[in-house]
Each structure stands twice: as C-alpha cells, then as structure tokens.
Symmetry: C2
Subunit: 339 residues, 2 copies
Amino acid sequence: MTTIYDIAKRANVSSMTVSRVINNKGNISEATRKKVEEAIRELNYIPNSAAQSLNLKKTKLLSLVITDITNPFFTKVARGATDKANQMGYQLILCNTDEDYEKESEYIDALIAKRVDGVIIAPTGDSSLKNLKKLMKNRIPFTLIDRKIENVPCDMVLGDNYEGTRYLLQHLITNGHQRIAMVHGPLTISTSKERYQAYVETLKLNDLTVSPSFLIEDHYKQEDQLAGINHLLELPEDERPTAFFAVNNFIAIKLIKQLRQGGLRVPEDMAVVCFDDLELFIELDPFLTVSSQPAYDFGYMGTQLVIERVEGNSPTGYRSINLKPELVIRKSSGTSIKE
Amino acid sequence: MTTIYDIAKRANVSSMTVSRVINNKGNISEATRKKVEEAIRELNYIPNSAAQSLNLKKTKLLSLVITDITNPFFTKVARGATDKANQMGYQLILCNTDEDYEKESEYIDALIAKRVDGVIIAPTGDSSLKNLKKLMKNRIPFTLIDRKIENVPCDMVLGDNYEGTRYLLQHLITNGHQRIAMVHGPLTISTSKERYQAYVETLKLNDLTVSPSFLIEDHYKQEDQLAGINHLLELPEDERPTAFFAVNNFIAIKLIKQLRQGGLRVPEDMAVVCFDDLELFIELDPFLTVSSQPAYDFGYMGTQLVIERVEGNSPTGYRSINLKPELVIRKSSGTSIKE
DNA sequence: CTGTTAGCGCTTTCAG
DNA sequence: CTGAAAGCGCTAACAG
C-alpha cells in the first residue's frame, strides 16, 4: 500500500507538503504542486481515510437505518439518501432493522464504533428513544424520517399522516361508504398511531361510528395472515365493512390477497385504499388508490439535513420538514356504492 | 469521546489489558476482566474503529455497487447482501452507478480510499475492467454478480442467461409464435449480450428467421420511449411481431406502456415475456411471464464469497456460482395463437 | 497474566 | 512556501 511518505520521497518533499496538495490547503508553489501531483499519479496514490478519520474525527460516512429496503417506500428513500450523500461526498451505510428494536440497537452500536458522521433513521418504534439517546451521547447527529419520536431534539422529515388519512377516508365516504375498517400497525410507531387517530377523528367528523372490531392490528412482520379479518368478513352483509383503509401498501397487498382468498373481489365487493404508492406496478396496472408520499424526498431531505448539521451549517433550532401526500384515485376504491 | 486510556485508568490497568478484553484475546484473570468490563459499561465505551482499521488494515466495511437500487432485482440483491454482511459482522456501503462508468469510477476511488475490505459489484459494462483492475492493484477482493467481465480473476455469482432465454422463447414458440422481437440493452453488458446470443441461437434452432429489424436496443436509462418499436408496429399484420422478449422487467414495463400507447393490448394483441420478477406486484396481479432469478441469492452468495476471500477462507482458485432461473408463466404471454 | 514500546497513515501545530 | 515533531486511538511484539 502506498502511503503519503512514498509520495513525499518520490517528489523530494516532506509528507506535509503532500498533505497540503491533497487537501488544497495552504500555499504551495506551482512547481512543487506539479511534482507532487505527478508522483501521486505515478504511484496511484489514494489517501487512507482511516488515518484521516483518526485525525480529523470525521469519517465522511453516513448511515441510513430503515426497516426494510425491500419495502418500495424505503427503496425510494434509499435512492434519495444515496443520491444526496454522494453528491456531498459522503458514503452511505445501509441498515435494515426489520422493525426489530434489538437489531436496531446492534446497528447503532456498530455505527457508533464506525464513528459515522451522521445517521438518517426511521426508528422501529417509541422504544428507539434509547438508541437515539445513545447517538446523542456520542454526539452523532441524526435526522428522523417518516417516523417521529416525541421529545427528541433533532431534525425531522415527516409526512402528513392526518391529511393523507383524511384524503383517503373522505374519498371513500364521498363514494358512499359508511362502514370502513382499518388495518394498522403497532401504535408505538408514530405513522401508524397518527393514521389511526386521524381515522377515528375523520369518522367522527362524518358522524360515522367507530367500531373497535373494525380496527385490526398487524405487526408489520412477514406473517401471511392478518388476524381478525376473517372474523369481520363473516358478519352479515349489512354489518360488515364495505371498505378497508390499510395503513400502508405492504399491508394493503397482504389484505387484498386475504380478501381474495375469502372470495371477495376488490373493488367490486370491497374497496381498499392505503398510504404509499407502488410506482413500477402502477405503470402496468393503475390499481391501488393511495395517499402517495414523496418517498425519495424523505431520503434526500433527511440526508441534506444531517449533512448540514454535521458540517455546522444548521440553524441553532431543529427543523421539521413536512412532506405532503397526494391522493391518487385508482381502481381499488371502486366507484360510488348504492346505499 | 472516551478512549481506551480512559477505561485503562478507571480500571487501573494498561490499555493493552483493555484491548485484550475487548477483543477476547490472550489470557486475562477473571478479576481484571470484570473490572475492565465494568469500566467499559460505566463509561459507555465503544472502540474507535478508525484506529482499529489503521492498525489491522481491516475495516469490516464492504460495498455493494449496483446500477440502481430502485430496480426490483437489485433491491432484492441489496437485501441479500446486507443480510449476509451483517450476519458476519460487516457493514455495507451502498453505491448506485446508474449504468454510468464515470460514476462507477468515482465510487471505486472512494471505496479504495475508505479501504473497504471487499466489494460486491454488478459492473456497468465491459469497460469496468479498468475499475476492477484498480481494485486488484489495491488488493481489494471483489465478486462479480449478475454481470460477467471476461478475463478477470475473481469469484462470480451469475445467472444462466441462456437457459432463461430458452425457457421464455420456447414457451412462446410452443404457443405458436413465429415472429418474436427482442428489446435488449447495450451489448457491452454480459447479461444483455448473452440473452441476445441465446435469442439468436434459439430462433435458429427452431428454424425461425432472425430479422435485424426485430432487434431493438435500449440504453438502460430513464428515457421514456423505446426507439424502433413504433416502426415495428407499423408493419403489416402478417409481418409484424406477435411477441416481444424484453431483456429485463424494467424494459418490459417500458415496452408494455408503449405498446398500449400504440393501441395494442397485452397479451391479446402482443405477447410479452422478460427476465426477472416483480414480486410485490405479482401478488396483486399475476401478470408478467418471466424467467425469474433468485435475486436475493445473488446478493447473499456474492457477499459470502467476498467475505470468505477477505478472511482467507477461500480455495486458491476462483469460484463461479451459477444461479438457475425459473420459468413462471402468467398472463402476459397469452395463450396459444392461431396460425 | 500484564505492561511497555513502537507504529499504523495522516494532519496539526509551530518553526524556519 | 516548506518541514519537524507530536499525536489521533488502537494493537502487535516483546518483556517481565
């Protein structure tokens, strides 16, 4: 491995001079700069960033901590994050927590060991607070994306879960639906909780009853069946829901699969709406009615905010960016139903 | 930032002793180990891996270099790679080259600077050879995934492009198709080239004519239109293709969109088949007939192979793993056509 | 079983 | 404009 000393020797200068030309710092005569640059080229020298990091206490490493890159929402987030990171000269370490607090903790420890400059994280849930505190203790800035944790002083890039939910439900209600069930995730996850609350509020505002049996909880894990759905479907026709609001697209797909297994067609027998789009899919078949969120921007903006903080270009206060959802009406919500 | 010396002082031992308990190396009395461990806990000490790397010349950093995480094939690859990496105690840096050799080069330089222990790469094309040589010069092991480069001594995890193509075409031919067009990518990419060659071979074997105008090239970039398609569609009915073989799912979607814009239905008016599945999508609508590749395994195995090499557990020779595709027949290829 | 010394490759003083 | 010395936090090699 060629080091800065090899270059120094070859160019007949000290290592300091080499360092200076590499980093474009201080004044160097054109002549010696040329010499050094040539030596660098000849020996294919690339500075060792471990050594740099040790000195500078900066690694130019960021990490994106999400639950699952395989979820199309997070795929887009990751694209946005890598784009911004690389544009700014950083590398991005990817971590999948699988909604598991323990895994998240292990990752956080590893990231601290690596001394990453900053973290962009969609936490697994409220208990992640402990992990965030660990980051704070180690002075590693982070921005929360998509999911909020209360009382954490940090930048955030969040969606508008109330508005998104309202869009979806109003659309269903306008179409004549009165009995709308919801499938949500753990309420320890802010997106799930807020969409849940918005669901309750919106129904009430529209004088619709909120029935506990219409609220199904899923664990955001890989299991195949949504418990409680089949029970709902066995209700007499005039009591069972005519529409479902799924908290996200992953759940919606699970749900639709299960509805079909139960012999129901979507949207003819059951309308379905959800958060987050499935972009590629939609090109082939504009099917799901969704509140589409700008996933790419979550990653891009989230990364921008950490970098600003890492580099000391942030305002003193913490910023919270609100990304608006957009209602996209497609087939799965059907047309108006007869009452 | 707390260092190994802080721990040493607190535990009344030397830094070496601390180092030994951290790394579980050498013999330590139970008593001092306890003391040290307690000090570590009390001060929340986490070793600085930049310092470790500088000594050990190991970073426990790997990188996955792909063209676009947003492509569902690579999304799965990434999941497989992160899973294996983390299982083995490595972190994974994600790089998207966008099929751009220049971007790839920049990434490679950055990765060399970071002294990553290994790289898992789907190269942008044959010219990537130069970048791979750079890695070799820097003694960074890599495994090639999905795309092969000739004459590079390294481990590889590849699909069987011949077999996959044959499956797809035989299926179409069995269904009565005689005029099958192909949309491929740049022939500097091995997958595209091999599928192209397999296309030619298979048609010949079946005594079908290979018409140059039936071979459409796409650039694998974001452009909206596939040049040359419209021209094909303007041919008289008995001359125009009755089926298309798209080199991958991204292209297939582009193609189908364009066919529809031209007023053609798939599969009624035009059958379409391609490589690589769209897993989530397929749950909602089993549409595309594909040669499905085990994308996850490309990432997982690829990572396993580099790690083995990094850690010196590889055989002397280089290994080439062949992952078989599976033909999944769905709607887009239609049923038998009348001749 | 534990400690000392030196050095990984670079940059930050401080001199010159 | 350039260089010498010291140190970032850790571990390998050798002593004891």
